[in-house]
Amino acid sequence: MQTLNNLFLIIAHFIRSLFADPQSVWANLTMDVINFIIVVVIIVLAALILILLERKVAGWTSMRTGPNRLGPRGWFQTIADALKLMGKEDVTPAGADKIIFKIAPMIIFSLPMMTLAVIPYGNHMAPIDLDLGIFYFLAVSAISTLAFLMAGWGSNNKYSLLGGMRAVAQMISYEIPLLFSLLGVIMITQSFNLGDIVKAQHTIPFIVLQPLAFVIYIIAGIAEVNRAPFDLVEADQEVVAGPFTEYTGLRWGLFFLGEYGNMTAVSALAATVFLGGWQGPFLPGWVWFWMKVGVIIFFMMWVRWTFPRIRVDHLMHLAWKVLLPLSILNIFLTGLGIFIYRLVMGG
């Protein structure tokens, strides 16, 4: 049990022990490269599985079975789709701003890579153990706004530009309640370090102490990753596919990878901050972590295939008139709670 729990730590220790000095620069560099590869593999695997799961959930909610042709019960469908994407022609529109057009998907793809690197996947299993973990996570994920705008602008297409502008309006608005909802947890733990936050949830996960913050985080998180009912950025009926309209083949695939990677990252942060991360009885920590992430991702899909798209003005109203005051109220209540707790406990 303990061995299984520390399986990856033991492997890491073994790799380090192959070097003459386990803490040398070369050992660290090797471990960093391995961590990098693991994070990339996580994103690619997540995209492969989640795209199919999304289609399955879409099918199940409408009493269908979803993809069912390729492989057992259709579970190889995404592989075929990915191969098809690789075979597509790489088209750059004539009037496009070529450099921006080509950089945008790379930035989108690199962001979940950077954010997933600070998530603790188990006890002492964060690829990079940052003291400013949450801060870094939010700062990096905010850059995706820029990438969407670059894609929208660089495509030289009215729909792309509209989608890009919508992305900016939406993601900047929802960034604020997202940030504020996490502030309550930071006030309790007195730490930005994700590992410390998970350890602080040893007795009770923060969803119990901060239910309002969790609800706000999930709503704002869904809006942050541009998923229905907040998918105005790529609203097919209005702006074709938003910033992705002019992209083909692998570049478009990168957008998709980035999108599902971002979704995984947001869910992973939710699991870490509110659901107790890798803490849990019986099973190894990393199994618990991925189970919690899976539950949140499933919930996001469930929401996506239940609700219709929200209107643009309602989107802004929800962010500024509902979520923001509620998140500030949550910070106030948390502060009050901490104050009372200290009075009672005499701290």
Binding site: V57, G59, W60, T61, S62, M63, R64, T65, N68, W302, V303, W305, T306, F307
Partner: protein
């Protein structure tokens, strides 16, 4: 209450998710057809008396048939029977007109073809092929 509808919606989709799905796995599992489906034509050659009633009943002129007199039994025997399925409505008037029930509407539905000419059916050949296949 505010937000009640949201939870109702989630509940409904969840029920659909865990409930049965209605997808038909068509090529692997054939659908159960209603008893009155009319989707194809079948001919029993030995029953046909070449009276030409079916051809006359047909509103679209789908059926063309020829017969010849058999010297031994002094009966008319079918020589050729062609149907242009591209124009057939499957209205069933021909089968109603048939005095010996040689021509019947059947429930085969996999009738798609690649060429327009393939829709001109030689009913005798089809009947023989079907007899061979069982």
């Amino acid at each position: 209450m505010f937000g009640k509808g949201l939870f109702q919606g989630l509940g409904i989709t969840f029920k659909r998710m865990v409930g049965p799905n209605i997808t038909e796995f068509y090529p692997e599992q054939k659908p159960v057809l209603p008893s009155r489906v009319r989707s194809s034509m079948g001919l029993q050659r030995e029953k046909c008396i070449c009276c030409n009633m079916c051809a006359m009943a047909c509103p679209n002129g789908v059926i063309k048939l020829t017969g010849e007199k058999d010297e031994e039994s002094k009966k008319r025997v079918l020589k050729s029977y062609h149907m242009d399925l591209g124009r057939c409505l499957f209205c069933g008037l021909c089968t109603e007109a048939c005095p010996t029930k040689a021509l019947t509407v059947t429930q085969e539905y996999e009738n798609a073809v690649f060429e327009a000419d393939d829709m001109k059916w030689d009913m005798i050949a089809r009947a023989e092929r079907k007899g061979k296949e069982g």
